[in-house]
Symmetry: C2
Subunit: 376 residues, 2 copies
Amino acid sequence: MDLESLNTPAAVIDVARMHRNIERMQQRMNALGVRFRPHVKTTKCEQVVRAQMDAGARGITVSTLKEAEQFFASGIRDIVYAVGMAPAKLAQALALRRQGCDLKIVADSVACAEAIAAFGRAHEEPFEVWIEIDVDGHRSGITPDDDALLAVAATLSNGGMHLGGVLAHAGSSYDYDTRDELMRIAEQERSRCVRAAERIRAAGLRCDVVSIGSTPTALAAEHLEGVTEVRAGVYVMFDLVMHNVGVNDTSEIALSVLTTVIGHQSEKGWAIVDAGWMAMSRDRGTQRQKRDFGYGLVCRENGEVLGEYLMSGANQEHGIVSRSGTPDHEIAKRFPIGTRLRVLPNHACATGAQHPAYQAIGPDGNVETWPRFYGW
Amino acid sequence: MDLESLNTPAAVIDVARMHRNIERMQQRMNALGVRFRPHVKTTKCEQVVRAQMDAGARGITVSTLKEAEQFFASGIRDIVYAVGMAPAKLAQALALRRQGCDLKIVADSVACAEAIAAFGRAHEEPFEVWIEIDVDGHRSGITPDDDALLAVAATLSNGGMHLGGVLAHAGSSYDYDTRDELMRIAEQERSRCVRAAERIRAAGLRCDVVSIGSTPTALAAEHLEGVTEVRAGVYVMFDLVMHNVGVNDTSEIALSVLTTVIGHQSEKGWAIVDAGWMAMSRDRGTQRQKRDFGYGLVCRENGEVLGEYLMSGANQEHGIVSRSGTPDHEIAKRFPIGTRLRVLPNHACATGAQHPAYQAIGPDGNVETWPRFYGW
C-alpha cells in the first residue's frame, strides 16, 4: 500500500519524522541524566509506543486505565496513571496490579489518599501512590509548601501504602513562546517538584521518584538536578501548537490528515475538502497563539507546506481551505476536484483521537496501518 | 445495569427525552406534509436510528460512506450521502448500489458531475445524483440562479445519470437566536431550494426531490411548499448550541456525560473531574453565542441542572468545574471526591463521536449499552 492508494480522510504518520522526534527527546533525556517515561495518551498506538520503548524509554504514562490495560497486555509493566484516582476505579487498578502490572496511581488530597489506603488495606494491597504537585496553578496538585502535602504523605504512609514519589506537569508551559520563558517555567517545574520531595524526606518519609514533564519544559530545561524522570507526550508527533510555542519546525510535524478536494466557492476563494472537524478534531489550540492556523496548515500530498493556505473552517465532514489574506479566486484551478492535500494539525493528541488507525508512511513510501484505540 | 454502576466518563442517553425529541420532529414533519430523513451522523448508533425509523422516518442521510455501509448492513436501503462526491470514492458507492443500496450521491460542480458520469457510464451504472444548492453562503453548493446549476444538471442528464433532485442545508441557521430570524432563514432555505428545482424543470429536466433541512430551520419553518423532504440530525439529542439558538430547553437535552469528581482547588473554586475534552470533545460552539457554557453545563447525577456550574476548562482527561461569577470556595464540600455529575454538551454530534458507545437509561432506570462506530 502507498499514499496514493489511501482513502480520505486519513491520519498519516511520517515514520522518519516520528523516529527523529523520538531520538531527539530520548538523547536529550540521556544527556540530562534522567529516565524518560513517554505519555502514551498522544497516540494510544502499539507501534508508536514500541518505537519509544526501543529508543530507551523506561515505562509509560497513561491518562486512562484502559490505556494501562491495553499496554500492559502488550507487555509493558511499568505504568503510571497520571490522573487523580477516583475511588470507584480502585478495583480496576487492583485487578491490574494482581495481574503483575507495576501500576502507580496518583493522589493530591487527604480524602483521596484515605480512600486509597482504606481500599488497599481492605484488599491487602499496598498501592504505590505518587503525590501530584501543583507547580504552576495549571490544574491539579498540591503546592510544594502547602501543609496538605505532608498530610497526604502521612495518610498514605500510615495507611500502609507505598509512597513512591511526587509528580508534576507544568501545563502552563503551552502558554509561552520564547526560549527565556520556557527555560524559566522548566526551572520552576523542576525546582518546585524537587522542593516537594525534599519536604517529604525532611518529614522522615521516603520519596524516591521525582517525575516532571511536558513537551516544552522537557525540551527547554537546562538541568534536571533532583529529578529522576521526565514525562512528555506530544513531542512524538509535534503539532502547530508546539510550533507556536517554539519547540518544533513545521517540517518536524509527523502527523497530518490526508484529504481530497470535493468542491469550490471560487468567489470566496474556498476549496472544500472531505476532512472536517471529525478528521481534524475541534481543537483550536492556536486560536490565541501568535499565529492562528484555523483548523490546520495545508500541504501538498507530498508534504510540502503551502504556507499561505489554511483550513479556515470546518463542519463535521467538510473543511474549507483558503489563502490567508487575499482570497485566491484561482483556487479551483490550483486545487481541482480530486486534488489530495495534507493538513498539519493544531493538536496531535486531539486529531489522532478522531481516527481508528494511523497510516504510517515509511521512508520507502510503503504504508502500514497502525491501529489505535479509544474510549475508557 | 443502572446509572450507579457505570464507569466514568460515559456518554449517557436519556431514552425518554430522546423519544420525545424524535416524536416532536416527526409530528412536525407529518403536519407540514413532507417526508423526514434524519441525519445519522449525530449518533452513528443503530438503536437510535431504529427509533427514528420506527417513528416514521423515510430513509436516512449520511456524512460518510462508512455510515452508508453500516446502516445498509442493518437493513436501511434509502440513503443519501450528503457530502460532495470525491471521484475516488465512486467505486465504494458503486459497490453499495450493486448490493442493492438505493444510494444517492451529491454534486455541485460540472467537474464533479463529469467525473460521476464518466465513471457511471464506464460501469454501466446510472448513479442517482442530487445537486447541492447554496441557500445561505454557508459552505458548498450552487446558488439557485447560477448558470452552473443548469450546466451541472445537463452534464448529469446528458451523461446518462439519474438527476434525482436538489438538496440544501441552511447551516447558517445556527448563527441566529430569535424566532423571527429562524423563520426568515427557514423560508430562505425553502424558497431558494425550490427555485433551483423550478429552474431545472423549466429547462426540461426532471427534478423530483427537493430536500432541505437543519434542526433550527426544520423547527421554525411555517410551511414547506414545494419541498418533498427534510433532513435534520442533532434534534434527536439536542444540545447547548441548539439551546442558545432557541429551539430546545436544557430539560430536552437527551445526551450528557457522566463524570466523577477527583480533586479540588478550593482557593480557585474548582472541582476537578475525570471528563476532559476527550469525553466532551473540543467543541466550543457556545463560545460566540449569547451564553458561553464553556465545555458544558453541570447537572447532578440525577440530571437536575445546576445552572451556575459549568465545565469551565478541559484538558485531555481532566475537566475543571466551577461556578459562573463568584468562585465557590466551598466546592470541596459541595462536590466531595467521588461525587458523580452529569455534563450537558455544547454539541451532541461532537461529544457522541468521542465515545465507543452510549449508555442508554430507560424510564425504569435500566441502562443498556448502545454501540456507536466511527472512522471512515
